[in-house]
């Protein structure tokens, strides 16, 4: 599979969006930020130990890939534009994400990653989360 090379400007912008969420959220929403790793896991996978266990397995088997490529892939499969995320409330984003994941399982878009049966959206998300970290 070919990885799309992003212009440096777009790459920095994407990373900035993710990393600045905790700050941006303070202005956009009184809620917690959208894509903060820990908060995301707590919301989408409320059991922190569950999230850790699953994450540990994926991390151990995934090949390294570029953050920018994975982020763009994630935006694409979520059907969300980068700019929309900036104005999106955390709960809205989580709802989109959850519906997409649940829909993946409904239509058979899931795969076996180190034994864990995960939705394709999740796999993309965990890659991004890991690469950010």
């Amino acid at each position: 599979m070919s990885v799309k090379i992003l212009p440096r400007r777009t790459f920095i912008k994407n990373v900035s969006i993710f990393l600045s969420m905790p700050l941006l959220a303070n202005f956009i929403d009184i809620d917690q930020p959208v894509l903060n790793v820990e908060n995301y896991l707590r919301e989408v996978l409320p059991n922190n130990f569950s999230a850790m266990s699953i994450g540990e397995h994926i991390v151990s088997v995934q090949k390294k890939s570029s953050l920018s490529g994975e982020m763009n892939h994630l935006f694409m499969i979520l059907g969300v534009a980068e700019n929309d995320i900036l104005s999106m409330r955390k709960q809205t984003f989580i709802t989109i994400l959850r519906e997409k994941i649940q829909n993946d399982f409904s239509i058979g878009n899931f795969s076996n990653i180190g034994g864990w049966i995960l939705s394709d959206t999740e796999v993309g998300l965990y890659k991004v989360l890991f690469l950010i970290r």
């Binding site: 266990s53 959850r98 399982f105 049966i117």
Partner: protein, 533 residues
């Protein structure tokens, strides 16, 4: 009355019905004739207690994929294998009795509805609660229990009930003591079923004790109730007139041997913790509405799942995984420190480690001392919530002609051929296991229950299936002698007066444990014999 065969004066005994084998089927049948005026002889190989010499008659040759000891899965004394029975009871599903395209081409020659009254009577014999399994209002009446995947159209929660378990040899021992019409002959090993010259009618059975006292029993009707392996063996051994053995003109006796296929199917990492007191974990749950019953719950496929995917039936038994917050936190701290990060919520994780120091110490000390044993005693489920469950998959085995009980060249104490078992599973069984776990994984994801971990053995179709010691199928029931050994009345085709009462007559196995169905069929056969005697 109980009689030790070693003390018999007569060399020939006579009865209306001779039942061979005093396990759940034999005892259930004999019980039905109490005080009826029908003379019944119930022959049992063993006595009232376990005996090594008698048990060794069960030894045999096992050339199966899974080499278990044939003498370990059964018990040969009064009460039979109910003496080590776990007690799980559940009727078969209606779909288990019908031919299914793409799964198997065999159907039971009786309707499910016809079995229901016998299942209800079997409930009393097995000391169960009311006959409640698939009552749609059950969960509404039990608001304290929340079934998983309530909205799913692929999987459902099924109930089973637990017998105390009924040790038939103990619970029903006294009722035969003073009986005038039922004699139980102990230490009576049946060696052969003898027929007339045409091989169409049974004239007697030949029996002996381990002290080599030989005798025979003449009766109007004979019932073989010796379990899924031994019933086939006796038919094969009885080959003086019919050279391939009784009921074996079409080479079916001993074939289609099945067991419930057992496999560790992975785990579910739950998104929301489950209470430790869930019915899925506490398999003997008492419910206020039904004080006499003990219920358990498991996950099973819906009818549409089975039909749409052309799958054999299955169940998932789920139990709390052994988790330790102390060990999880230790791993997390080590992982983060190793990556050069200061762990988030370090205080919380340190608290977890300290509060569960015994588990953490066990892991460390076992590693240091290369030991398998724990150094400190740990209660694995001291908490009230469960975040991870393990999955035990127990499946219907697809009937397979090549999976069979045969006669070995090895001989037993009486110079009788022992059993040679060749239990075989197929690629279709392996595929069914994979599909079952995939369906569960999809439903857990779709309904936000959790994520499923699938072991490589399931994924790769290389499961080393374990046994459930449910011996099924070797004298299967069918309308025609071409496709089955016994007919819908459990009478051996083309033999006037020989019947089989055992799980060996099941043409298919479903996922339900067999004892309740064995008991129901024994009651049904007893009713039939009352009519025809």
């Amino acid at each position: 009355m109980y009689i030790d065969a070693n003390d018999l004066d007569s060399k020939v005994m006579e009865a209306d019905i001779c039942i061979i084998g005093a396990g759940c089927a034999g005892i259930t049948m004999a019980k039905e004739f109490l005080n009826t005026g029908v003379k019944v002889l119930l022959l049992e190989s063993g006595g009232f207690e376990y005996d090594d010499e008698t048990q060794s008659l069960y030894e045999g040759e096992n050339v199966s994929l899974h080499n278990f000891d044939l003498a370990d899965t059964r018990l040969r004394y009064f009460g039979g294998s109910t003496n080590h029975w776990g007690g799980m009871c559940r009727p078969l599903d209606e779909i288990d009795l019908v031919q299914r395209d793409g799964v198997h081409d065999v159907s039971w020659p009786i309707q499910f509805d016809e079995l229901v009254p016998y299942y209800k009577r079997a409930h009393i014999v097995c000391q169960l609660g009311p006959y409640i399994y698939d009552d749609p209002y059950f969960w509404e009446k039990q608001p304290e229990f929340s079934p998983l995947l309530k909205e799913s159209d692929q999987l459902r929660t099924s109930l089973f009930q637990f017998s105390p378990p009924t040790r038939f040899g103990q619970v029903y021992r006294d009722i035969f003591k003073e009986s005038e019409n039922i004699d139980v002959i102990l230490n009576a090993n049946v060696l052969e079923v003898e027929t007339d010259e045409q091989g169409k009618k049974i004239t007697s059975v030949k029996a002996a004790t381990l002290r080599k006292k030989y005798f025979s029993v003449k009766a109007k009707k004979f019932v073989i109730a010796m379990g899924g392996m031994e019933s086939a063996r006796l038919l094969l051994l009885s080959n003086k007139v019919q050279k391939n053995g009784l009921g074996n003109a079409n080479d079916l006796v001993g074939r289609y041997y099945m067991d419930h296929l057992d496999a560790w199917a992975g785990a579910i990492q739950l998104i929301y913790d489950m209470p430790i007191k869930s019915m899925y974990f506490d398999l003997r749950t008492h419910i206020a509405s039904f004080p006499a019953a003990k219920f358990g719950a498991l996950l099973t496929p819906t009818l549409s799942t089975l039909n749409d995917n052309k799958l054999s039936n299955f169940r998932f038994i789920i139990s709390p995984a052994k988790t330790s917050k102390g060990i999880d936190s230790s791993k997390y701290i080590a992982h983060e420190m190793g990556a050069g990060h200061l762990p988030d919520n370090l205080g919380v994780h340190l608290k977890n480690v300290l509060s569960d120091i015994e588990s953490v110490a066990n892991v460390g000390l076992k590693t240091v001392f290369n030991s398998q044993n724990d150094f400190f005693k740990v209660q694995p489920f001291s908490g009230k919530l469960v975040s991870k469950v393990t999955l035990d998959l127990n499946m219907e085995q697809i009937p397979n002609r090549n999976s069979r009980v045969m006669l070995s060249s090895e001989k037993d104490f009486f110079d009788q051929n022992r059993i040679k078992l060749d239990w075989q599973v197929t690629r279709d069984d392996q595929f069914a296991a994979l599909k079952a776990v995939e369906i569960l994984a999809a439903e857990c994801g779709k309904y936000n229950i959790g994520r499923v971990f699938m072991p490589d053995s399931i994924k790769d179709g290389e499961v080393d299936f374990g046994i459930s010691s449910h011996h099924i199928g070797t004298t299967r029931m069918a309308d025609s002698a071409r496709t089955g050994v016994v007919n819908s009345d459990c009478k051996v085709h083309d033999i006037d007066n020989l019947f089989v009462s055992s799980s060996s007559v099941f043409p298919t196995s479903g996922w339900a444990n067999p004892t309740l169905t064995i008991t129901a069929l024994a009651l049904r056969l007893a009713d039939h014999l009352k009519k025809v005697l």
